[in-house]
């Protein structure tokens, strides 16, 4: 029998010098520790954590000159080289621009003439003639950056609308999936089931399916993010309702107030700071995820990223990642300020 299972001695039964002081950790703790360590080792091997450690170590050793060859270091180095410098300008051949007017160039842009070598084949003699082709190019020095910023704007909007839809759907679902407010067991289980269902389907998968239904564009992205995050917010909101302090609720219920009135006056003010914190986190996450789901055609900067990545335009990819990074940083700063102002 462990010391904690022993009957509590009667008051004043013996001096504190004789009280049993069980050790902080018993054999069960150490056994659990060993089991967890074994599981981590076994699972780590399944997901090639051993190879990851060896190759990362090799790359680090290569970077400080301790090892001659490292596939990872060389691959990463080549990629970084291809990504640097990021491409901010947009260059378009004028013969690919409809109704081009050389007298009305876009702001800060210029025309450049470039010569390119081209091969012409005479199909009768099958001779190859090398020609010098002059091409007029419209160069917009910050054109690509502006395009990426526009796409980032669209991504932000997808993230915002996804979050808005998630909040709208989560609020009623949270009410029905809070054990202490749901009108009956059927509504409780139905709401909990719906919330879990939304949470289970990753947004990348639902975006793929929604692209089939709504076509390429932001609708699929907004809905995919909205539905998936309803699964999170619905659960978080409901748990906060369940854990809200009971005293004020009981006090108002005793005055004859119905559930919704009590929820409005005694629960919402209590849970509001947490709700705002969750919602800002989901917004931050949705903006990042909006960039990812764009890859499957659900609009935004992800679509541009995928297009550039597929044609090895790594300089453009670098610009996209840079804009994404700065946006997330700004958003983080903004949400911290909102939190500080609202949550006191």
């Amino acid at each position: 029998m462990s010391p904690t299972q022993q009957p509590i001695p009667a008051f004043h039964a013996r001096s504190a010098r004789e009280w049993s002081l069980p050790p902080a950790h018993g054999p069960r703790f150490f056994l659990t520790l060993v089991i967890v360590a074994l599981l981590v080792l076994w699972s780590g091997r399944n997901v090639e954590m051993d190879r990851m450690l060896v190759e990362t170590g090799g790359a680090l050793a290569h970077s400080v000159g301790l090892k001659e060859e490292s596939q990872v270091a060389e691959g990463a180095g080549a990629l970084l080289q291809a990504m640097f410098p990021p491409v901010f300008s947009l260059e378009t051949a004028i013969d690919r621009i409809d109704d081009f007017d050389p007298d009305r160039l876009p702001l800060f842009s210029r025309l450049e003439v470039r010569e390119q070598l081209d091969v012409e084949i005479n199909y009768e003699t099958l001779e190859q003639n090398i020609l010098v082709v002059r091409e007029e190019i419209l160069v917009q020095p910050l054109g690509y950056l502006v395009l990426v910023l526009q796409k980032m704007g669209e991504t932000l909007e997808i993230g915002l609308w996804g979050t808005f839809i998630a909040v709208l759907l989560s609020l009623p679902l949270a009410y029905f999936s809070a054990r202490n407010y749901s009108p009956n067991r059927a509504s409780y289980f139905a709401a909990r089931g719906t919330v879990s269902f939304f949470r289970t389907i990753p947004e990348l998968i639902s975006a793929l399916l929604l692209v089939l239904a709504f076509g390429f564009g932001p609708i699929a992205g907004v809905l995919a993010l909205g539905l998936h995050c309803t699964g999170f917010l619905g659960k978080f909101y409901a748990e906060d309702i369940e854990n809200a302090e009971r005293g004020p609720q009981d006090a108002l219920r005793a005055l004859g107030a119905g559930r919704l009135r009590v929820l409005r006056v005694a629960v919402i003010p209590q849970v509001l700071p947490q709700y705002i914190a969750y919602t800002l986190y989901i917004l931050d996450r949705n903006v990042r995820m909006a960039a990812v789901i764009g890859i499957v055609g659900a609009g935004g900067i992800g679509q541009e990223l995928k297009g550039r990545y597929d044609v090895f335009d790594y300089g453009h990819v670098a610009t996209i990642l840079l804009v994404l990074f700065v946006t997330v940083l700004l958003l983080d700063h903004l949400s911290a300020r909102i939190r500080a102002r609202i949550i006191r």
Partner: protein, 245 residues
Amino acid sequence: MIEFRDIHKRYADGTRAVDGVSLSIPESQFCVLLGSSGAGKSTLLKMINGMVEPTSGELLVTSEALNGKTRSRIQRRVAMIHQHFNLVARLSVETNILSGAIATVPAWRIFAGAYPAELRRRAALLAEEMGLSEVQFHRRCADLSGGQQQRVGIARAFLLQPPVVLADEPVASLDPATSNGVLKALRHTARENGATVVCSLHQVDLARAFADRIVGMRDGRVVFDGSPEALDTTASEALYARAGS
């Protein structure tokens, strides 16, 4: 007017909280329930506002039998002051006082947080009466001391001038000066507004000083019922004597 007719309450775990209480408390009376912890005082109070249902017996509140059909209507006539204040800490003093009218104000006003102007004025006057300043009136309850929070709780209970006011250990965590103020306010509402005030207390001296009538409880039964003068030392010691001692 509150009337208990052979009221019993047995909880699911078998605890017999109230055991055959018959009691009648008229209007304009400040009745104090005295007794040690577990004597059944809180259960008895919570029966009056329908938060605890008796296992058997009949309970009349404002001369109307309390049951499933009448509960909501009766609850609107009964206000309660709680030992732990039970205020919404993040809400202002004003909104907490106004929440005393939660069941009677139209739903849209509750959801929009737009209480009628005359009710807001009344809340301000009550806050002033309770010794709260204008600055405190607009502060969050969390920023107030325990005594100030209890005054907010009293103002909330008095907002609609209910015919029945209950107070569950309202001075348990307050200093002597604030305790006297709280009990004076309760006695005042009984005498001036004609309310039936039922208050549970631990402190015999406070009960003697403020109550119109003292009901002593022990093990769920009424063991003393009389004027403060009738509660002598022997009777009060018997109330708090430990079982088996």
